[in-house]
Symmetry: C2
Subunit: 162 residues, 2 copies
DNA sequence: CTAAAATAGTTGACAAGTCAACTAAATGCG
DNA sequence: CGCATTTAGTTGACTTGTCAACTATTTTAG
């Protein structure tokens, strides 16, 4: 196999190599690796930090609302918040008006971590979007938003019609 | 709960709700759910079928090449191919010229499955891209390709510089 | 030629995330 | 009211996928 310089992607260059689904999964996984590396020195993982973001805007929201923010399974939220609580980033309080729900609050540790976290988020976002101009990014977000909403809301376990 | 019609995303509508990273992960997960549902009736899972795609174009390629096609970890390929082999979709042969490598071939079962598989792939792709015109899709693929290459190749375990 | 380095594949341990089944509280309807 | 349904959260079992450490070949340099 002396000079097999061309990758499979260069040799096989048809529709199936250009699927949006393929790009999405490659980007998702690569992005995760990048985040793992950036977060390595901190006491928090890729699966947990996203839940802090909506909380920085508004504390006291419920796990349900956090799930909706990311269209994510309830079980994932429980587990991420358990870890965040264990590591001292959030506190859960029973909602006095509806004892099924929790109200989630940030600790001092989480508030102090905010600048570093947003630095990492910005870094990652910039890294992904290197050499892509602002207009193109705007168009991208627009299209991705449509795709999310095309796929959206059709979960089975969580909240079905009726 | 009475009239809490606005979701968190509608209330909190700043930069952090518009991150490309956020859209990517929402789309990735929703797309997986959709695929799981479509594949449910077949004897193959979401983690396995992607490896068939390059094989439909060219048989005999190695696990390494399959990994490169998806920028995926070697371990993931081993496991997916073990399942594909177990279910009778592929066969592995030792490459006679380099006994470290395997050459991977499709079975009759895999070849017969091809039309249904491509139907599902097309369905999923169409579902994601509903109401998005061709030009926009082209632009999207273009941008996603740039992002993949911005993130690309910087794996630690697999093949580093030098 | 031979020892060292690189490469393909494998395995174990782990994180993330889904689904399904469950609990407990709240709501709705007879 | 009081029973049935819905809802928020929890748990167990499972699939994907990563990293790190390992084996067995192959390649490279001395």
């Amino acid at each position: 196999m002396g000079k097999e310089a061309k990758s499979l992607n260069e040799q096989i260059n048809d529709e199936d190599s250009q699927l949006v689904a393929k790009y999405i999964s490659i980007i998702y996984r690569s992005m995760n690796c990048l985040l793992d590396r950036e977060l390595m020195v901190y006491d928090i993982d890729r699966g947990q930090f996203p839940f802090l973001i909506p909380l920085y805007r508004r504390e006291g929201i419920s796990q349900k609302e956090l799930c909706q923010f990311y269209n994510m399974d309830k079980a994932a939220a429980v587990r991420a918040l358990n870890k965040l609580e264990g590591k001292g980033y959030v506190m859960r309080k029973k909602d006095p008006e509806d004892k099924r729900q929790h109200q989630i609050y940030l600790t001092k540790k989480a508030k102090e971590f905010k600048p570093q976290l947003f630095e990492i988020i910005k870094f990652t976002e910039n890294r992904m979007l290197e050499n892509i101009n602002e207009e193109e990014v705007g168009q991208l977000k627009n299209t991705l938003k449509k795709i999310s909403s095309n796929l959206g809301v059709k979960k089975r376990g969580n909240d079905n019609e009726k």
